[in-house]
Amino acid sequence: MGLNKTLLASIIASMGGGSSPPPSSKTFSVTLSGITGATPSSVSATVTIYPTPIIPRFSVNGTSSATGVSPFYVHCDASETLATTLTNYPFHNLLYRWRFGDEDGSTWQQGTEAGNESKNEAWGPVSAHVYWTAGSKTITLDVFGWNDSGVMFTDTISKTITVTAQDTVFAADTVYVSDTGPVAGVDGVPVGANVATVTTAANFNTALATYKRVFVRAGRTFNLGGSINFPNTTNGGVFTKYGSGANPMFIMSTDASPCVLNTVNGWRIYDVDFDDNGTYGANKNPFTLTAGSNHLIARSNVLACRIGIGSEDVTGLCIYECDVTGMYDDTGAREPGIGLFPSRTTRLAILGTNAYDSPITHVARVQGVKSGVISHSRFAKAGPTRNALSVREWTTTGFDNGGQSTHDVYQSCNIVDNSERGGYALYCGPQSVNHLGYLENVIAERNYCAGSELYPANFAVANYASIRHNIFRTRYSYAIGLGLGGNAAGSPPSVGIWVYNNTAYKPDVALSTHFSFVSLTDAGLASDVRISNNLIYAPGNTSDGATNGTEATLLTNGGTSPGVENTDYFLASNSSTAQINGVRPWASATPTAYADYTPSVYGVSGGADVGSRIDFFGDLLTGARDLGAINV
């Protein structure tokens, strides 16, 4: 049994973490004096010697620290952490554990399955959290690394941030609004509060021109007839509900985006819902964000739309526990709908969100995202040949090298193409051929990816991708595709693609009788491609994914230059062909819950080194490496 997080925490505690820099670090000064040829005559620096091979570093909302008003979204990025004697790829090969110091002890739902991961904790080099209450909060980052002998090192850094209560900032700038005369002291409106009667977008704009915090009465419906244009105010503002009952419903009664945030900063919009009133409109996009920074959209539901939540050129956006459904089909001249469409957005977080059923195109299309984290969310039922979650570079027209997606983490999501419409569930790669924009430093881990009539996942990442501890369930001929030779024509070939400790399962031969775990395309153009420690089970298949041979296999080479093992790609300690076709490696004949995939046989490999030590359920791997996503 792997070391669980409780034991891991005890290790952390015993190592005395919690301050910055750690108490056991040492310092000395360096002085250059008697300078000639420049000023001043003397300069000095301090050298800090850390006691472990790890130098932990992180930023909060892009700065060394941060303060904000509740609910406060913090984005934490540890990609500056160094461990040069352990790894050249700290983003991928170190283990990052965040503790947010929040009293919120609730847990995430993991896709459609009840989860057990605390919201007060996160794993990975990029993370995010929302503080719903005010106070002084300490964010603690524990970083773990291992040397070639398997010896573990850890170091810790903490930062304290201040979350200010809304009433402290907005007490004099608050209004309670409803469509039927709100009265101070009644229905949740405090005595002495400012009140206003509003029915349309114009009324809301008037309220927002005067007040930074607008409370909308719960359970009421507003036919907007236009857009609410959120203004730029100091400390942003708050737009949410008051009183008991369902979220207030905003009806897009005309063809306009109800929430427009153009070059504004720091808005918190939560507990409000949107619907199109049953009529199509090309501009019925509940949230349209352009430029600006540090917005939180939380606990909002979209019932029908063209683009549920869209952003462009935004720095800092958190989509938290939202539910977006009912995207448009292309009936008549309708523009197909997308649930989530963040583009060229830095510091993006999509947490605990559900986006479901885009009849024609992608459910979520994420393009040009830097330092993003998507976790504990569900993306399902894409359109024909489209993706439940599509991660791409941003490309406008032709060749465009300005919109790479970099340093992004996609974890603990439920990504499913259950539409039987023939698209990838998860796609990471270029927009299309002949684009120079590309993805790099991508981590896809601990996701459940299920495909229907195509791969559960396809990766065409240019530089450095870790695909680990995922469960891939497929009915198609492959579990994952690796487009390595140019990632589609015109893009750079892949460097550093590491596929390890994944579980793949093809339960039946109804759709095809051939299967390979990986479809490896043009590996001869790629370098440092490692496929190891994967647990694969595909009973009853009579040929490989390309209909060659007599049984399912680990790998099918494709393309024009498939490459040579141990030269262009490396295989180690994966399921053997006999295992792929052999005894079921877990107990359940019909695995459905994630725990059903816990291996009972073939569970331990020969010990090939892997870069991460945490499994699908967050258990730490130690000693010999287990096969598959779940540690035993």
């Binding site: 040492k26 008697g34 620096a45 010697i49 130098i55």
Partner: protein, 277 residues
């Protein structure tokens, strides 16, 4: 911002211009002492190119930020003819005023390809352009961003001061073989000069603090300059002192260690051994 001129006129800030012409029609001829030169292709196979070197740039002390460089030349012959476009490029040879000819860049030292055409002779990047005017007895200028950058690098000691070559922009034969006054011209006001506009920079040094681990073997501290090191470079002495670390246990002490940043560079590094502790 300061503007100086380098030329052979009394009014110029600094002296120091060398010039000559090389002639395809007379490939062994040297013309360093002649009071005029030409940039022309008036007859097929008889191209003329001019070489100039502004040695007076050495009088400007770097580091500087150069915003403008203009070479001013005086066309002599007052005969109307079409404008002629000319290019200015950098010569890669250490030419001499007295020895340069179509065949040689210095006495008895041939170009790789006669006429300064070889890859070892010339950098064919166009640094500046100019137009010889259609009528004479007037000045014209040669300028361009490449020339400005080159002069800045010369003053700041990043590169040595090269010879420049002026040549026709196209191989099309055009009538007219107009003379341009050289430094040897008796009428002083007609002599060539270079006008340089620059802002003196004083390099400010900084040395950010750094982190390392006791497993790293060494740590590198970098000294940054916000402008290139001037002529003579930047120098100083490195010393370390314990704060909570102990020399000899955690790191190797540095005492009176000489440090330098060469002219033209913007940074230098100090490497200090880190001990396992």
């Amino acid at each position: 911002m300061t503007t100086v001129t380098i030329g052979g006129r009394t009014a110029d800030t600094y002296p120091g211009v060398l010039d000559t012409v090389i002639q395809q029609s007379n490939p062994t001829a040297t013309s360093g002492s002649v009071d005029r030169f030409q940039v022309s292709l008036a007859v097929a196979g008889q191209e003329r190119k001019s070489l100039l070197q502004f040695t007076g740039l050495s009088n400007i002390t770097g580091p500087v930020s150069v915003s403008s460089v203009v070479i001013s030349l005086f066309r002599l012959n007052n005969v109307t003819a079409p404008n002629r476009l000319i290019n200015c490029k950098k010569i890669l040879r250490s030419a001499t005023e007295a020895g340069a000819s179509w065949n040689n860049y210095a006495a008895a030292t041939p170009w790789q390809t006669a006429g300064a055409l070889g890859a070892l002779d010339i950098d064919n990047t166009v640094l500046a352009t100019g137009t010889i005017p259609s009528t004479g007895n007037q000045r014209f200028t040669v300028s361009g961003a490449g020339l400005t950058a080159l002069v800045q690098d010369v003053i700041n000691g990043v590169v040595s001061n090269p010879w420049l070559i002026l040549e026709v922009a196209t191989a099309t034969v055009e009538s007219g073989d107009f003379d341009i006054a050289s430094t040897q011209r008796s009428t002083e006001s007609q002599r060539p000069y270079m006008e340089v506009t620059f802002t003196p920079l004083t390099a400010n040094a900084s040395m950010p603090s750094v982190d390392c681990t006791k497993f790293d073997g060494s740590v590198t501290v970098t000294v940054f300059l916000d402008a290139p090191a001037p002529v003579g470079g930047v120098s100083g002495t490195v010393n370390t002192a314990d704060i909570t670390a102990t020399a000899g246990v955690d790191y190797t002490a540095q005492t009176g260690v000489a440090f330098s940043i060469p002219v033209g560079s913007a940074s230098g590094t100090i490497t200090i051994p880190i001990l396992p502790g």
